[in-house]
Each structure stands twice: as structure tokens, then as C-alpha cells.
């Protein structure tokens, strides 16, 4: 897929673990792992909103479009 997720990078910058983010946004670790590893087929606006709110970032900081992929 040409959309890639850079959640791990933002998490590293914020010094937050996946477990902590999971607790804060109310999304299971399993689902966040799917997102982090790029296996996700879609992301809900509500999930994206919650992640951006907790990580204090923009959707563009997490999602990237790469035409080559």
C-alpha cells in the first residue's frame, strides 16, 4: 500500500510506549500494533483524532503517502 504509518517514530519522539497510548486512546494494543506495523487496511477518523490528540500531532505526522510503494 502506498500509505505508510510512522506511528513508532512519533511515539519515540514523545517518549510514549504503545501500551500507554493504548490506554489513553482506548484502542487495544493489538489494533495499535496492526496500525504500527502497516497491516491496517483503514483507520477511523475517531481513532486518528484520539491518537493525534494524545500525541499532540497532525494526521500528516503519522500518515505518509509514497507513490513508489
Amino acid at each position: 500500500m502506498s500509505i505508510s504509518v510512522k506511528l513508532d517514530r512519533v511515539l519515540l519522539e514523545r517518549g510514549m510506549s504503545l501500551t500507554e497510548l493504548s490506554e489513553r486512546v482506548g484502542v487495544t494494543i493489538a489494533n495499535l500494533s496492526i496500525l504500527k506495523t502497516g497491516k491496517a487496511k483503514a483507520i477511523r477518523f475517531s481513532t486518528l483524532e484520539a491518537i493525534c490528540k494524545e500525541l499532540d500531532c497532525q494526521p500528516g505526522d503519522i500518515l505518509f503517502f509514497d507513490e513508489k510503494d
Binding site: N31, A40, K41
Partner: protein, 172 residues
């Protein structure tokens, strides 16, 4: 009454199909034995006749008609067994989990191809019957072709359903 889950219509249907499968297996094994024994039918009859001193009247000669009939029934039972087996697998997923899995689409496709082979065999045996000038009653019905098309459509529905389920499962 519920359609799926434990104690549902699907469970009753599965129980019925299990019984049907046993009956079909018995018939299938019987036919397999008959296929092997038919060439020796005359010899067996003569041996029985000699051993028991019973006079067996009637025509015991095996002709092309018998072979065609046995062959046709053999293929029919094999197809039925395969279809019942696939349906049981599909019902299992219906009772114990989600039916929208790729395996079920493949199973429906398999059923479609099996029915198609069954109909093809009918034509082949019908042709054999014509060639050998025997009177074997083999006819293809419109409803069977309708069922074959429906099964293939159903396979595509399940394939699409499985794709949607996968997408839903991978939506965060």
C-alpha cells in the same frame, strides 16, 4: 428458532447431512464393490449354481448397459459425497464462528465444479449409451444448471464477504 449457532436450524441441517453422508458412503462402497464384481458376475453365478445345485434362471450376462448404469451411479454418488462433505464444512463455520472466510468461498466453488463434473459425466455416459446402443435413462435437468450457476454466484458472494470481513478486522 435461530438460523445459526448451537441448537439452531444449521445444527439440525448438519445432523441430517451427517446421516446422509453415512448412507452415501454405504451406497458408494456398495457400488465400488459392484464395479469390481460385475466382470465376474457370470462366474460367481455359475459357482453358486454348482455349489448349491440351485438352478438360476434368467439372464446373468453382464452387458454395456450395466456398466454404464453402475459407472453413472458411481460418479453421481461421488459428487453427492463431495457436496455433502463441503456443505458440512461450511455449516461448521456457520455454527462455531464467522461464515465469511475465504475457505467457504473455495468450498462453494468446489461444490460448483463438482456439480459441473457430475453433469459432464451425465453427458459422457449418455454419449456412451448412444454409442453402445443401450437404453440408459440419463437426462440433464434445467434446475441442476440453475443450481450450479447459483452456487458459483454464492461462492463470489462469500469471497466478497470474506474480503469485507478482513477489511473490517483490519480497520483500526
Amino acid at each position: 428458532m435461530r438460523a445459526i449457532g448451537k441448537g439452531s436450524l444449521a445444527s439440525i441441517l448438519a445432523a441430517g447431512l451427517h446421516v446422509t453422508r453415512i448412507i452415501l458412503w454405504i451406497a458408494f462402497i456398495g457400488l465400488a464393490i459392484a464395479m469390481i464384481m460385475v466382470p465376474f458376475a457370470v462366474g460367481i453365478m455359475s459357482a453358486v449354481d454348482g455349489a448349491t445345485n440351485l438352478s438360476i434362471d434368467g439372464n446373468v450376462a453382464v452387458d454395456a448397459e450395466d456398466y454404464i448404469n453402475i459407472g453413472h451411479n458411481f460418479v453421481t454418488f461421488a459428487v453427492m459425497l463431495f457436496v455433502v462433505d463441503r456443505l458440512l464444512e461450511i455449516l461448521k463455520t456457520l455454527r462455531f464462528g464467522s461464515p465469511f472466510v475465504r475457505e467457504n468461498a473455495d468450498r462453494f466453488r468446489g461444490v460448483g465444479f463438482a456439480l459441473l463434473i457430475g453433469e459432464g459425466a451425465k453427458f459422457a455416459f449418455g454419449f456412451l449409451s448412444l454409442v453402445t446402443d443401450t437404453d440408459v435413462d440419463i437426462n440433464s435437468q434445467f434446475i441442476t444448471w440453475l443450481a450450479i450457476i447459483s452456487v458459483f454466484v454464492l461462492a463470489e458472494v462469500f469471497s466478497e464477504g470474506a474480503r469485507m470481513k478482513e477489511e473490517q478486522d483490519l480497520t483500526v
